[in-house]
Symmetry: C2
Subunit: 155 residues, 2 copies
DNA sequence: CAAGAGTTGGTAATGATTGTCATAATCTAT
DNA sequence: ATAGATTATGACAATCATTACCAACTCTTG
């Protein structure tokens, strides 16, 4: 069984969570899973462009719909980049995670965020607020993109 | 000295941090300070609309420029709401803060975020990433907007 | 095959934000 | 105070991600 076949199998299984199975949804989900392994978070636009380049002409509307449905179903994490664009990441498990994301290449590193979860839970208890949710994102430059990795060092 | 006069005085002083003094910048900054006391975070669009309603016709471009300059100068915090719109909040001090924001009315509560700062600093040290920055936002429903405050309780 | 529900994808609309540039205001040096 | 240089303003157009719309298409079911 090749890596590609494994991806397709996973995608095929997951697509049924969204409703009717369609080739387009499988393509989008498969591409999202690939992107997760390679680049971390991806935007709907870039994922669409990637599909077009790969001769998989899925409509932009369908890409947006599928990614939104995945996020709604809890199968994808969503963050916003510095321009406000939404970035998606496939989430194999069902727990909510936090990531350290490279601003240069988009690669993401899942974090152990127990300390933050505890802090947020404490705030929720003591503030008088209800339905408290938290957004925690770390961004930085990963070792591969850093100054000593053939980039463009300053100074 | 009235409250209005105090606001104007503060705004006048702060405007000089952005470069040349102009009445428009003073108006925008004053409105931002007022908004901070009343509503917490505000968007550029709503701030602009508010100025028009108050017969202070400052151009939308100028509102955007001034708010961006304030954020750049560290005199305003910026977050994104659920639609990706940028929300600004005047920051009297110079330290970076985190807030618990009510999704209903926009009121914000500054948080003691030492635990998060420490956690983020630790990640920065151990991850190999450089230029690590963090975004931490808590959202919820404040006591005034909660189910027992005349809102629309569910269930 | 026919009907019906759900899906697709091209296109248009939306809405925040940014770019442009002629005009106007502000600062500086005299 | 005034001229000159620099900077800011604001109306408008452009950009861009995202959403809405809708006619054509695809399954499933009888």
């Amino acid at each position: 069984m090749t890596a590609s076949t494994r991806l397709q199998t996973t995608a095929t299984q997951e697509v049924h969570l969204l409703g009717r199975f369609t080739p387009q949804r499988a393509i989008v989900l498969e591409a999202l899973i690939e992107a997760e392994e390679e680049d971390g978070f991806v935007s709907a636009q870039s994922l669409h462009a990637r599909l077009l380049s790969a001769d998989l002409p899925v409509g932009l509307s369908t890409v947006y719909r599928t990614l939104s449905a995945l996020a709604e179903a809890g199968r994808a994490d969503v963050v916003r980049d510095m321009h406000g664009e939404r970035l998606f990441r496939y989430r194999p498990g069902s727990d909510h995670r936090h990531y350290l994301i490279c601003t240069e290449c988009g690669v993401s590193l899942p974090l152990d965020a127990v300390a933050v979860e505890k802090w947020a839970a404490g705030i929720a208890r003591t503030s008088g607020f209800t339905a408290v949710r938290h957004t925690v994102e770390l961004t930085g430059i990963c070792p591969d993109c850093g100054p000593s990795a053939g980039g463009s060092p300053q100074g």
